[in-house]
């Protein structure tokens, strides 16, 4: 089965090509079938691979070499896949949730004129995402990494006629490129010191630990490992929307809602977590980078959660919630709890996809309305959506025994073991999470309807192709936590056992059971209290002009404005100065001016025929070249 792994990305690629090349003549129904079937087929192969990997196969065994991608002398980068526990887990998440979202999309996008194009792009995304997690070296990961960026760009700007949307897509790509440069420099550092970009080769050299000799004859030092790790983390910041590169993700909600569910919640944005978990051998030798990750992760948790408190667009709430939840995953990575982080990747994929699809169902019913202030009382019209959304809210809040409870608990316990302050701040984030999610829930599904009569008349429960994915995801959000029961409840942490060959978890000095139960108790109590607070506040809140802190939060701490002021505008005016002054007046102007000077002199001296363009231009170019030559010699003999 492992050898057939190339089929997993191949099916979506075929789907993309069929829908992409024959978009003109493709009937809608067929386009949807091709797109969804491709992912279902990949899911079937992934399942087979998962069961094979689960029953054995040691780390680094499952290399599937496809062809040599880049060969320069002895430096080889193969196009190879790595099939192991970690990649198999991601394959299941990507293709499994991917399929549900494709299925959902067949209804959601039904009336869109770009239906075929949509499925082509969505398949393209899955293809690149699969490359990202399957690669056996950083270059293949990078191919997938930039490829999902492309797919994301195309899908955010899917409705290209709207300038705001295409601005959002451009912003997403460019911000990701900033991170990508970090990734690229990290790769360069790795090749330079270790002579390889293959995981197996690289991690084997890292096995020696600090002080060991690398293949290229360097001694592994913590400066080196920290530098590489931080560069990789910069890449992860972009893709996984962490401070300071997170502002593209809320804007990315411009894309169709199923896209937000798949790309901007369940899969692509977890690429950064995958990358760091994959490189755990490196990060375990880079304590400074780890601290940085934990702190940035935690800061992102709090910042994004606080913004979510005051958003009125249902998708914006979910977007900031995603940024915040990703922060938890980075916090876990930073304290070395890789399994906890991956566990949260999984449960988050379930409940956040559920919440996004649920919001999509609402938006669909409300004919495109996203503002919660114009909703209210939708529960009675769309019971399945309401009920599944509630499950999603409970799961993300960490309500006892829902999936998010276990994964978040694991992260918070590991954070506590590292530094109790991390725990308290993490708990503050969890409080806000519960509040903003239930605020959204109550605003949307309870109370009185606040929209127009026409909308009210139109509100309906979504069709089965949309509700079935909701139900499946709700079940997963409910029981998904069972794969990672804490020690208090069970001696078998299934996910931990499964991942142990590839991930070296930070050895947590285990909290004693009373302590762990106490922490859990506190967390549960907080969820209940915050649910109640949300209920009370949503009943009372008037949608008036926000003031003070509320206004700051509503305006997202003005971070976009600050970036605009500090980076975007200075870049633009620097470019204008270079163009209008340095280029036109300086370099080109200098050339022309030199010509004029010579001409002026020549008319005085009457040595040269004045007015002849030839001599004038000739002189000016001589001038610039003399200056250039003097400059170059001057620099040299300075």
């Amino acid at each position: 089965m492992t050898q057939l792994v190339y089929l997993v990305p191949l099916f979506p690629l075929i789907g993309f090509l069929l829908n992409g090349l024959f978009w003109k003549s493709m009937p809608k129904k067929l386009a949807g079938i091709i797109g969804s079937t491709a992912i279902l087929a990949s899911f079937a192969v992934s399942l087979g691979i998962f069961f094979e990997v689960k029953n054995g196969a040691a780390a680094g065994q499952g290399i599937v070499h496809l062809f040599d991608f880049i060969t320069v002398g002895n430096f080889k980068i193969p196009f190879a896949f790595m099939v192991d526990q970690l990649s198999a887990m991601f394959l299941l998440i990507i293709t499994g949730i991917g399929f549900l979202i494709h299925l959902y999309s067949t209804s959601y996008m039904h009336d869109d004129e770009g239906f075929t194009k949509y499925f082509a792009y969505l398949n393209l995304f899955v293809f690149f995402m699969l490359l990202l997690v399957l690669g056996a070296n950083y270059v293949v990961m990078f191919i997938g990494w930039e490829g999902v960026g492309l797919a994301s760009y195309l899908l955010i700007g899917f409705w290209y006629k709207n300038k705001e949307y295409t601005n959002a897509s451009k912003k997403a790509f460019i911000m990701n490129r900033i991170g990508d440069l970090g990734f690229l420099v990290g790769m360069m550092l790795t090749v330079y010191h270790f002579g390889t970009l293959s995981y197996n080769d690289f991690f084997a050299q890292l096995q020696g630990g600090i002080g060991a000799q690398t293949q290229n004859g360097y001694m592994i030092g913590s400066g080196m490992t920290n530098a590489i790790a931080i560069c990789f983390f910069i890449g992860a910041m972009g893709k996984s929307a962490q401070i300071p590169l997170y502002t593209w993700l809320p804007d990315a909600m411009a894309g169709p809602t199923p896209v937000s569910a798949l790309i901007h919640a369940a899969t692509m944005v977890t690429a950064g977590i995958y990358m760091i978990a994959r490189s755990n051998a490196l990060f375990n030798l880079a304590p400074m980078a780890q601290n940085m990750i934990a702190i940035i992760g935690l800061a992102t948790v709090l910042l994004a959660a606080s913004i979510a408190l005051k958003q009125n667009d249902i998708k914006k709430v979910l977007a900031y919630s995603t940024v915040s939840q990703l922060g938890y995953m980075f916090l876990a990575l930073g304290v070395g709890a890789y399994v906890g982080s991956l566990f949260h990747v999984m449960t988050h994929a379930f409940f956040k996809a559920l919440l996004f699809l649920g919001s999509g169902s609402v938006i669909h019913a409300m004919s495109g309305e996203q503002d919660m202030r114009k909703m209210g009382g939708l529960g009675k019209y769309m019971p399945i959506t309401k009920f599944t959304f509630l499950i999603g809210c409970l799961a993300i809040s960490g309500f006892p025994f829902f999936s998010g409870f276990f994964s978040k608990d694991e992260i918070l316990a590991a954070a506590y073991a590292k530094n109790p302050m991390f725990y308290y701040l993490g708990l503050l984030g969890a409080m806000m999470t519960t509040f903003y999610m239930f605020r959204a829930y109550f605003y949307t599904f309870t109370g009185n309807f606040r929209g127009t009569e026409e909308q009210k008349h139109h509100v309906h429960e979504s069709p089965a192709t949309m509700t079935i994915p909701l139900i499946i995801l709700a079940i997963l959000s409910l029981v998904g936590g069972l794969v990672g029961l804490p020690e208090v409840f069970s001696h078998h942490h299934l996910l931990n056992e499964y991942l142990s060959p590839v991930v070296q978890n930070f050895d947590i000095h285990h909290l004693d059971h009373t302590m762990e139960l106490t922490l859990m108790g506190i967390a549960s109590a907080i969820v209940l209290i915050m649910m109640y607070v949300a209920r009370v506040i949503t009943r009372k809140e008037q949608f008036g002009e926000a003031k003070g802190l509320a206004k700051v939060l509503e305006n997202k701490w003005y971070v976009d404005e600050i970036y605009d002021f500090l980076i975007v505008r200075p870049l633009a005016w620097k470019a204008r100065i270079l163009n209008n002054i340095v280029e036109q007046k300086g370099i080109d102007g200098g050339v022309n001016g030199l010509g004029q000077l010579v001409q002026w002199g020549s008319t005085r001296l009457k040595n040269l025929q004045s007015g002849q363009v030839g001599s004038y231009l000739f002189a000016m170019v001589i001038g610039i070249i003399i200056i250039f030559a003097i400059g170059i010699f001057g620099l040299l003999y300075m």
Partner: protein
């Protein structure tokens, strides 16, 4: 023999073009000739595996100059690029009416012959001869056809390049006088150059470098570029940017870098800094341009800057990356100019602020524009990626003490590149502005563009096809 054919076919078809009177006939003739050249170029490259092919005939025995040609891999790749670009351009421009077509196409093919000679010459005087042969037709092409300010811009271009040529000629004569038995042969030049005293080497290095640097162009010798690209007709712009740029780079690789090792050592770092400035400067200027042609001109300054850095990084990965990038850049920028020309012909403007909504009006053209754009910003699985990756790696591995900083600053180009290229796509393709009904790509345009897209994807997915030659 095949090397001679590469020169002779464009030369003869070019001269014969002047005799035609009917536009369609001369187009067909030029296309036929360029396809013939393409076949020969492709076969020459396929035959390379056996050995590097060198031929030599007596030419000017009194001067010690011979008609020597060498088909090294780099040279043959550049001839292949030249041979690919011409028919694709002619094909895509089939429906465009050009005044005095017989002269236009004749001069184009003569320029092709000159370019071929520059890449193949294995004798310094012969190299110089072809260098001028390539320039003169292009000067006429730039001066007689194009936008209204073409006289000014082409004259500036001419003066710049002519001056460069003069400096090179001076250096060439001096170098010739130093050879033991008055000889222009490559190996003699190589031995003579390296044996010269340091100060002399440095001076000669600067003379040659200015000539090559103008052609590339390197910052700050670039001020002819934007105007020349903007004002010329698209086929001429393509010759200038996809091919003549490579003359400068190729000149450095073959005739400068190995000939004056001391000069290389002295000036390598300064040139890298100038190239680095060019990357950032070109990218920044590209951001504020309104005219798409000017935007691409400045982006080219940035792309070429990275290649220049690669040459002087002096590592194996960088030198492979340079050649791969020289080839791929030529393909991508040709596609870009062709699409821009299609847009301009349909909308009557190149000003991005007046454009918009192409995606609705001409989806196929938009797909082409987007794919080529992503190739230009080096997305993996397009041809643009591998060269840039190897260049970054090679610069990083360089023994230059500032190698990490250089690479990181050069890397800013990939961010800035995304900014200006995606800005351009957004303004041209997206939005709702004037849903003017325009025709999507015609048959000939599609054929040409799809071939370019195929090269972009094939060399992107399987770059070893190219790398295994190097």
């Amino acid at each position: 023999m095949s090397l001679i054919l590469l020169l002779v076919i464009p030369l003869i078809t070019g001269l014969a073009s002047f005799a035609f009177r009917k536009a369609q006939a001369v187009k067909a003739w030029a296309l036929f000739g360029s396809l013939l050249t393409l076949v020969v170029a492709a076969l020459s490259l396929c035959g390379i595996k056996e050995q590097t092919h060198t031929i030599s005939y007596t030419w000017l025995p009194t001067l010690g100059a011979s008609f020597a040609l060498q088909g090294s891999v780099t040279a043959l790749l550049m001839t292949l690029l030249t041979a690919i670009v011409f028919p694709l351009t002619l094909l895509a421009q089939w429906n465009k009416d050009i005044e005095q077509p017989h002269r236009f196409y004749g001069l184009m093919l003569l320029a092709q012959a000159g370019l071929m000679g520059v890449f193949l010459a294995h004798d310094l005087l012969l190299f110089y001869f072809f260098w001028e042969l390539a320039l003169i037709p292009v000067y006429f092409l730039a001066g007689q056809w194009g936008d209204k300010d073409r006289i000014k811009s082409s004259f500036k271009f001419f003066v710049y390049t002519f001056l460069g040529s003069l400096l090179m000629l001076g250096g060439l004569i001096y170098l010739y006088l130093q050879t033991p038995n008055g000889n222009f042969d490559y190996d003699t030049i190589l031995a003579t150059g390296a044996a010269l005293p340091m100060a002399v080497q440095n001076t000669l290095f600067v003379l040659f470098f200015i000539a090559f640097g103008i052609k590339m162009p390197i910052f700050p010798l670039h001020s002819w570029q934007a105007g020349a690209y903007e004002q010329t007709l698209t086929p001429v712009t393509i010759v200038l940017s996809a091919l003549m740029v490579k003359m400068g780079l190729f000149g450095v690789i073959k005739w400068l870098y190995p000939v004056f090792p001391s000069g290389t050592e002295q000036f390598g770092n300064i040139i890298m800094i100038l190239a680095l400035i060019g990357i950032i400067y070109g990218s920044m200027l590209a951001i504020v341009q309104k005219d798409i042609k000017r935007l691409i001109a400045y982006s080219s300054l940035a792309h070429v800057g990275l290649m220049i850095m690669g040459i002087f990084a002096d590592t194996h990965n960088a030198s492979v990356g340079v050649v791969a990038q020289m080839f791929n850049h030529g393909i991508t920028i040709t596609g870009l100019w062709l699409v821009v020309d299609m847009i301009e012909r349909r909308y009557g403007t190149r000003n991005m602020n007046e454009l918009g909504g192409l995606a609705g009006a001409a989806p196929q053209m938009t797909i082409a524009l987007v794919v080529i754009t992503f190739s230009s910003i080096a997305l993996p699985l397009t041809n643009g990626f591998v060269g840039e990756f190897l260049l970054f790696l090679g610069i990083f591995e360089s023994t230059n003490p500032n190698h990490i900083i250089y690479m990181a600053i050069a890397g800013l180009g990939i961010i800035l590149g995304a900014i200006y290229m995606l800005n351009m796509v957004q303004k041209v393709a997206y939005g709702n502005k004037k849903e003017m009904a325009i025709a999507d790509m015609s048959m000939n345009e599609r054929l040409s563009i799809y071939l370019i897209l195929a090269v972009i994807i094939i060399l992107g997915v399987y770059p070893n096809l190219l790398l295994q030659l190097l």
